[in-house]
C-alpha cells in the first residue's frame, strides 16, 4: 500500500478575524531546523500592516469596553483552546528544533501565562488605580484605561511562549494589537491565530502578520493611528533609533523590554499590563 500523502496547511495572516493572504502576493520560505522546506509564509507589506491597523482600531472601542470579567474569561478560553491543540504546537515547535521536553515546557508555560493574565484583568485596576485625597471639596479618582492600538515586534527566538507573553498583557488591558510574528519561525504564530479565532476573541483585537522584519519596522513605528509600540529583542542601535524617531511623529509610547528568557519570573507581571495603560483622573464637586 502506498503511503498517504499529507495535506499540508497554507499559512496565511490573521487580520480582522479572518485569514487573508498578503495583498502583495509576496511570500518567503520557512525552513525547519534541518534546513528543509516547511511552508511559504506571507511576506507582508505596508498595505497589509495598514489593513491590520484599520481592523485593530475598529475593534478597539468594543474590546476596551468589555467588562474586566468578560476579558478574563476570554483569555481563559484562549488557554482552554490551546490546551486542546497542544499536540499541534508540540509538533510545530519540534520541526524548528525544540526537543519534546522543550516543546512541552513551552506550550505549558504559554497556557499558564494566559491564565495568569486572565486573572489580572479584574485586579490590576484595583492595585494600580487610586482615590486621591485632594485638598478641596471634590471627589477625585484615577483609573487605568488602555492606550489604544499597539504594534508589536514579537520575540524572534521564542515563537510561541514569547508571542503569548507579549500579546496577553496587551489585550488583558483592553488594547488591540498588530503583531509581527517571529520572522524565522512564523508558523506557531499563525497556529496561535487559529486558537484565537476559536476563543471568542473578537476579530481585530489581535492581528498577526508575517514577513521580513527589516521591511516592516518602519511601518510598525510610523503609523499615525498606532498609539504604542513594543519590542523585547535586543535591537541594533540603528533600528532602535529609527523606531524612536518615527514614533515621535505622534508621541507613540515606545515600550522596550530586553527579555531573552521568557521563563524568568520578571517576564510576566502586572507592570507589563500597566505599560500599555493611560491614567485617567476624574474630578467631581462634592456638595448639596
Amino acid at each position: 500500500m502506498s503511503e498517504r500523502i499529507e495535506v499540508q496547511k497554507t499559512y496565511k495572516t490573521y487580520v480582522g478575524g479572518s485569514f487573508p493572504r498578503s495583498e502583495s502576493g509576496h511570500y518567503y520560505k520557512v525552513f525547519d531546523s534541518e534546513g528543509d522546506f516547511l511552508a511559504n509564509a506571507c511576506r507582508c507589506t505596508r498595505k497589509d500592516f495598514r489593513d491590520a491597523v484599520l481592523a485593530a482600531r475598529a475593534a478597539f472601542s468594543g474590546w476596551s469596553s468589555r467588562t474586566s470579567y468578560n476579558k478574563g474569561q476570554i483569555l481563559y478560553r484562549i488557554a482552554e483552546m490551546m490546551e486542546n491543540r497542544r499536540d499541534q504546537f508540540v509538533k510545530e515547535l519540534g520541526q524548528i528544533g525544540f526537543s519534546k521536553e522543550e516543546a512541552d515546557a513551552d506550550i505549558n508555560a504559554s497556557i499558564d501565562r494566559l491564565i495568569y493574565y486572565a486573572g489580572w484583568t479584574d485586579k490590576y485596576l484595583q492595585v494600580f488605580g487610586s482615590v486621591n485625597p485632594v485638598a478641596s471639596s471634590h471627589f477625585n479618582f484615577s483609573i487605568l484605561e488602555p492606550t489604544g492600538v499597539v504594534s508589536v515586534l514579537a520575540p524572534e527566538a521564542s515563537p510561541l511562549l514569547g508571542l503569548v507573553s507579549v500579546i496577553s498583557p496587551i489585550i488583558a488591558g483592553g488594547n488591540t494589537c498588530i503583531v509581527h510574528a517571529s520572522e524565522q519561525y512564523p508558523l506557531p504564530a499563525i497556529s496561535f491565530a487559529e486558537v484565537l479565532n476559536s476563543s471568542d476573541v473578537p476579530g481585530g483585537v489581535v492581528n498577526i502578520i508575517t514577513g521580513i522584519r527589516s521591511e516592516l519596522v518602519e511601518h510598525f513605528s510610523s503609523h499615525m493611528d498606532v498609539n504604542s509600540i513594543l519590542y523585547t529583542d535586543e535591537l541594533d542601535k540603528e533600528t532602535k533609533t529609527k523606531i524612536d524617531e518615527l514614533a515621535s511623529n505622534n508621541i507613540k509610547r515606545v515600550v522596550k523590554k530586553n527579555i531573552s528568557d521568557w521563563y524568568e519570573e520578571d517576564s510576566a507581571n502586572p507592570y507589563f499590563i500597566v505599560d500599555f495603560q493611560e491614567t485617567k483622573t476624574t474630578w467631581h464637586p462634592v456638595g448639596f
Binding site: S65, V134, S142, E245, N250, I251, T281, T282, H284
Partner: protein, 501 residues
C-alpha cells in the same frame, strides 16, 4: 411730586434673561498689590552646585514684564559648557551626599522647601505676576500655594516609596534634566523638582526664558534651606540651552512641559538613547455641556476653563460643545459674563485676565484671531477697556466654527473659546475626541450616569465633571495621544523618577 427719580437698573435678579451689569452700578477702584517688598536684582547668574556663578560666555538676556513691556532684570544665558558644569554638579551630588542621606532626612529638606515657600508666598506671587503677567489673585491663590503643596506632598513620599509599587524595589533614576514652560513658572518647577528629589534624584532645571524670575528666587530659597550642593541646579536660557540638556550624555531622565511640537522634537532627539522621559504637551480640551446641566454654574465653569491664566493653560477647556437646544441661551449668557471680566494690570486685585505672557505669544494669539475670521467664524470680544501698554487681549468667543477649522483643531493658548453644538451624546463624544490631543475634557450635566458614560468615552488624561481646571498634588495629571507621555502628580507621578526592579 418728588424730583428724585430712581434710576432704572437693567439688572433684574429675578428675570432669567437679565443681563449681568456691574459696571453701570459701580466702578471699580484700582486695588494694586504693593510690590514694595519685592527686591529684584539687576541680573541673575546661574545656580550651579549651590552657588550663583557667572555664565561661561558672560552673556545675559533681558526679561520684560508683559504688563508694561519694560525690562525687569537680566538672566544669564547658559551655554553647553554651563549645562555640562551643572550636570557634573548634579552627578556628583547624586553619587555622594544626596544618595547617602537617609530617605527620611531627604524628606525633611523637601518639607523645609515647602515651608519656606509658604513663608515667602506673597513675595513669590508678586514676582510671578510681574514677570509672567498673570493676575495676582491667581498667583496668590493658586500658583504659589499649590507649588508649596506639591513639595509638602512629595516630601512625605521620600521614605515610603517601596509602598507605592507592589512587588518592586524602586531606585532613583539619577540626574534629571527638566525643562518647564512659562505659563505656571513656579508651579511647574514644583511639579518637576518635588517628585524628583523625593525619589532621590538630583536635577538640572531650565525655566522658560520669559519667566525665569521665580526659579532664580527659588534657587536662593534652596540655598537658605541648606540643601547639599548640586542637588538642585538651575540654568537659564532659551531653546538652545534646553537642547543642551536634552542631548547631554550624562542625564538619565528628561522631563518636559511645553508644546506638542517641541515635545516631538525632544522625543526624536532622545531616539536611540535609553534616557527615560516624560512629556506634558499641548491640549484642546472640550467642554461638553448637556441640556440638563445647571446652566449658570456651567457658564461659571466655562469661564474658568478658558479664561483662567489668560488661557495659557495646556489643559484649558478651549472648545465648548453645547447641546443644540440650549445653545442660544448659553451663548447669550457667556457673552454677558464676558462683559463683566476685567482685563487689567496683573497686580490689580480686581483683574480677572492679566497680560499675555510675551510679545511672541501675543502675536500668535492675534494671528489665530485673524485666522478664525478668515475661516468664517463669528467673533465676539468683550468691550472692556485694556491698559495702553502691555500685551492684552480681550476674552474672545468664536461661534459658527466647524470641526475642521484650525481654530478648533490647534492649540491657541490664549483667551479664545470656540463654540460648537451637538444633538446627541455620541456626537459630542466624537467631536470631543476628534483632535490629536487628549489632555483634559469637561462634562456638564446633572445626571450622574451620563458623567460616567461620557467621562469614560473621553480619550483624555483628566476629566473634570461639573468643574474645571482643578489641580492638586495628590491627583495625577497628564495626557493621552499627542498630549504627552507619563503622569505628574500623585502616586502615579513617582514612577517617572524611579527605576523599578
Amino acid at each position: 411730586m418728588s424730583e428724585t427719580k430712581t434710576k432704572e437698573s437693567t439688572y433684574k435678579p429675578t428675570s432669567p434673561n437679565s443681563k449681568l451689569d456691574f459696571a453701570s452700578l459701580w466702578e471699580y477702584s484700582e486695588a494694586p498689590e504693593s510690590s514694595a517688598n519685592l527686591e529684584i536684582k539687576d541680573k541673575y547668574e546661574l545656580f550651579i552646585s549651590g552657588k550663583f556663578v557667572k555664565p561661561s560666555k558672560d552673556r545675559y538676556f533681558k526679561s520684560l514684564s508683559p504688563s508694561t513691556e519694560k525690562e525687569i532684570t537680566q538672566f544669564a544665558e547658559a551655554t553647553q559648557k554651563d549645562v555640562d558644569k551643572a550636570v557634573k554638579a548634579a552627578r556628583k551630588a547624586f553619587k555622594g551626599e544626596w544618595s547617602e542621606l537617609k530617605p527620611s532626612s531627604r524628606a525633611k529638606y523637601i518639607y523645609r522647601i515647602a515651608r519656606m515657600l509658604q513663608e515667602r508666598a506673597r513675595e513669590f506671587a508678586i514676582a510671578e505676576s510681574i514677570d509672567g503677567g498673570k493676575p495676582i489673585r491667581e498667583s496668590r491663590d493658586v500658583d504659589i500655594p499649590l507649588a508649596a503643596a506639591y513639595f509638602f506632598y512629595y516630601a512625605g513620599w521620600a521614605d515610603k516609596l517601596e509602598y507605592a509599587f507592589p512587588g518592586k524595589k524602586p531606585k532613583p533614576v539619577g540626574v534629571c534634566g527638566q525643562i518647564i514652560p512659562w505659563n505656571f513658572p513656579l508651579l511647574m518647577l514644583a511639579w518637576k523638582i518635588a517628585p524628583a528629589l523625593a525619589c532621590g534624584n538630583t536635577v538640572v532645571l531650565k525655566p522658560a526664558e520669559t519667566t525665569s524670575l521665580t526659579a532664580m528666587m527659588f534657587a536662593e530659597l534652596v540655598k537658605d534651606a541648606g540643601l547639599p550642593d548640586g542637588v538642585v541646579n538651575i540654568v537659564t536660557g532659551a531653546g538652545q540651552t534646553g537642547a543642551e540638556i536634552v542631548n547631554h550624555k550624562d542625564i538619565d531622565k528628561i522631563a518636559f512641559t511645553g508644546s506638542t511640537n517641541v515635545g516631538k522634537i525632544i522625543q526624536k532627539s532622545l531616539a536611540g538613547t535609553d534616557k527615560k522621559y516624560t512629556l506634558e504637551l499641548g491640549g484642546k480640551g472640550a467642554l461638553i455641556l448637556f441640556e440638563d446641566a445647571p446652566i449658570d454654574q456651567a457658564v461659571e465653569g466655562i469661564i474658568n476653563a478658558i479664561y483662567f491664566n489668560q488661557g495659557h493653560v495646556c489643559c484649558a477647556g478651549s472648545r465648548l460643545l453645547v447641546q443644540e437646544n440650549i445653545a442660544d441661551k448659553v451663548i447669550m449668557k457667556l457673552k454677558d459674563r464676558l462683559e463683566t471680566l476685567i482685563v487689567g494690570h496683573p497686580l490689580d486685585k480686581n483683574t480677572d485676565i492679566g497680560a499675555i505672557n510675551s510679545k511672541e505669544q501675543f502675536d500668535r494669539v492675534n494671528s489665530y484671531l485673524e485666522l478664525g475670521v478668515e475661516e468664517g467664524a463669528e467673533v465676539y470680544q468683550s468691550k472692556c477697556s485694556v491698559p495702553e501698554s502691555g500685551y492684552y487681549i480681550r476674552p474672545t468667543l468664536f461661534t459658527n466654527v466647524s470641526q475642521s477649522n484650525r481654530v478648533v483643531q490647534e492649540e491657541i493658548f490664549g483667551p479664545v473659546l470656540t463654540v460648537q453644538t451637538f444633538r446627541t451624546a455620541d456626537e459630542a463624544i466624537e467631536k470631543a475626541n476628534n483632535t490629536p490631543f487628549g489632555l483634559a475634557g469637561g462634562v456638564w450635566t446633572d445626571k450622574g450616569s451620563k458623567i460616567f458614560k461620557v467621562g469614560k468615552a473621553l480619550r483624555s488624561g483628566v476629566v473634570w465633571a461639573n468643574t474645571y481646571n482643578k489641580f492638586d498634588p495628590t491627583s495625577p495629571f497628564g495626557g493621552y495621544k499627542e498630549s504627552g507621555v507619563g503622569r505628574e502628580g500623585g502616586l502615579h507621578g513617582l514612577s517617572a523618577y524611579l527605576n523599578l526592579k
